[in-house]
């Protein structure tokens, strides 16, 4: 079941196009990490889904628009306490006031603390922002860089909280990040945003088959062969040079495709199929534009 379906989204700020013909869907009950470099358009996509921005083109269809969000850095009424800030949002949304204490305790904030929020550290504000996003009976929670400002223990607590809520209530989470380590142990799905589009989506269960590459020797011949293969594989094929090595990735590759690639490259030196980390895969995927330009 799909919670949100984005189709052909386009969004520009003046002359700068941030998202271009982006299509993306969220599975119900998933914890999807939206990964992308700084400036890739992650926040813009989240703002579109959360309803802060309107797309220039395309559409967003919701199964039911009941979402909680923390977009960009958390912002609150500085003169009010954490409890009163949440109470205001609970009143406006018609949320049961009984949820307030539960939400604050879940993020380790004291509901009886009457200190004004303006005196809070960034980490405390971040926790309050997450409490706000979890306040209502939402079916989708959108969090933009939720781990910013948290210490390692705080990060683990929030990850644990997301895991538990997802497991117990089947709420869907969409979380943006540019730090891949944040996704570990929480993500059920990944989507990588680059060049204004979602360039790949995969589930955590498939991570091994996705993060598979051919390590070959970086010679002019091998790079030329890769360039020639672009016509055949298109955007599925990309590579990254690392010293004397050439890491070649072919998305959704069949065993036969990998074997034929391996056979083709074996003539230029040792070549083998191996597993890589998500970070290596991500970097190769997001740097391919510049590589193509450089190689050609």
């Amino acid at each position: 079941m799909t919670v949100v379906q984005c189709t052909g989204l386009k969004k520009s700020y003046g002359a700068q196009t941030v998202l271009d013909d982006l299509s993306f869907s969220l599975k119900e009950g998933s914890v999807t990490f939206l990964l992308g470099l700084n400036g890739a358009g992650k926040t813009t996509l989240l703002k579109l889904i959360a309803g802060l921005l309107y797309p220039d083109a395309g559409e967003i269809a919701y199964k039911e628009k009941k979402l909680g969000s923390l977009i960009d850095s958390p912002k609150f009424y500085g003169n009010l306490s954490a409890y009163d800030n949440l109470r205001y949002y609970a009143m406006v949304q018609g949320v049961n006031p009984g949820n307030l204490v539960k939400a604050l305790k879940a993020v380790r904030l004291d509901p009886n603390n009457r200190k004004a929020v303006k005196g809070f550290s960034l980490g405390m504000k971040q926790r309050l922002g997450i409490a706000m996003a979890l306040l209502g009976d939402y079916n989708l929670v959108v969090l933009d860089e939720p781990f910013t400002g948290l210490d390692p223990a705080g990060m683990e607590e929030i990850r644990e909280l997301i895991r538990n809520i997802n497991r117990n209530t089947n709420k869907t989470f969409l979380i943006s990040s540019h730090l891949l380590a944040e996704a570990e142990g929480v993500a059920t799905d990944y989507a990588i945003l680059h060049g204004g589009k979602i360039v790949t989506e995969f589930s955590h269960a498939n991570i091994e088959s996705v993060c598979r590459r051919i390590r070959a020797t970086a010679t002019r011949d091998s790079i030329n062969k890769c360039l020639a293969l672009l016509a055949q594989y298109g955007d599925r094929l990309f590579w990254r040079e690392r010293g004397s090595d050439l890491w070649i990735f072919l998305q959704e590759a069949t065993r036969e495709e990998l074997e034929s690639l391996l056979a083709l490259l074996a003539g230029d030196g040792p070549a083998q199929v191996e597993q890589c980390t998500l970070k290596e895969y991500f970097l190769a995927l997001t740097e391919r534009g510049s590589q193509h330009a450089f190689c050609s």
Binding site: L52, L53, Y77, G136
Partner: protein, 261 residues
């Protein structure tokens, strides 16, 4: 929409601005009403004195001290509208599962209720302080109270309509200080234009209608007693139109615009 009103009033009751308004208002009321006022006037060589008419009339005059409340209007606009953009809490409101039009109208109604509440408080407190220091003295207490209520309602309506342009500007100008300055600047320009139009309308009748677009041209007609029914109706209509226009325009702009802060 009602949930927005409820939330806004809850938030306002916890704002330091409310305490400041109440404190300053009471201080000004006391200075105006108790004998210290007379002393102050003497020190400043001003000829200020209360009428020797029945006290109920003076109570009405005292309630009109609430007029200085207009000084606080831009600060209220900043609290309810502008600061949401400057401190970026509009992001939280913008993602709430409520129609944006309803959010704007809810905020506008909250603002109106705050103006009514504060006007009532000021008029009520100045009347009470006056009665304590000078006595009520009038035979017709109901007439006095109805006069005060009339003044409060019509003044509140006027202040809400005055703030209309400013509220629309908060959707474009994300700067609290500038909003406050604009209120006083625009009020000054508006009153100059209004007085010019009123003078010209004595010779060119067509300008009478245009003058109603400028509140200063009719505000004195609202609180003058006895009520001049024709002018009063035109003034109330002008105010109501400006309030309705703000609601339609503001909610449409807020609905259609991206929240980019």
């Amino acid at each position: 929409m009602l949930s927005v009103v409820k939330g806004e009033l809850f938030k306002f009751l916890r704002q330091p601005l409310l305490k400041i308004i109440l404190f300053v208002s009471l201080a000004v009321v006391c200075i105006q009403v108790i004998p210290f006022r007379q002393m102050l006037a003497e020190l400043m060589e001003l000829e200020i004195a209360f009428s020797e008419k029945p006290t109920g009339h003076n109570a009405f005059v005292a309630s009109s001290f609430a007029g200085f409340f207009s000084f606080f209007i831009p600060f209220l606009v900043v609290t309810v509208f502008s600061s949401e953009f400057t401190i970026k809490t509009i992001r939280n409101i913008g993602t709430i599962n409520l129609p944006r039009r309803g959010v704007f109208i809810g905020k506008y109604i909250s603002f109106a209720l705050m103006v009514f509440f504060l006007m009532f408080f000021l008029a009520g407190s100045s009347t009470i302080v006056f009665a304590i220091f000078r006595g009520w003295g009038s035979d017709s207490i109901f007439l006095d109270i109805s006069r005060i209520l009339y003044y409060v309602i019509i003044s509140s309506w006027r202040e809400i309509s005055y703030a209309s342009v400013l509220i629309l500007l908060t959707l474009y100008i994300y700067n609290d200080a500038l909003i406050v300055l604009l209120y006083f600047g625009l009020s000054l320009i508006e009153s100059i234009i209004a007085s010019v139009l009123v003078s010209l309308s004595r010779h060119v009748k067509a300008l009478t209608l245009i003058a109603y677009a400028f509140p200063s041209s009719y505000s004195h007609k609202l609180t003058a007693l006895p009520v001049q029914s024709g002018k009063f109706a035109a003034a109330v209509t002008a105010m109501t139109v400006s309030i309705l226009l703000t609601l339609v325009l503001g909610s449409t702009i807020f609905k259609k615009r991206d929240i980019t802060v």
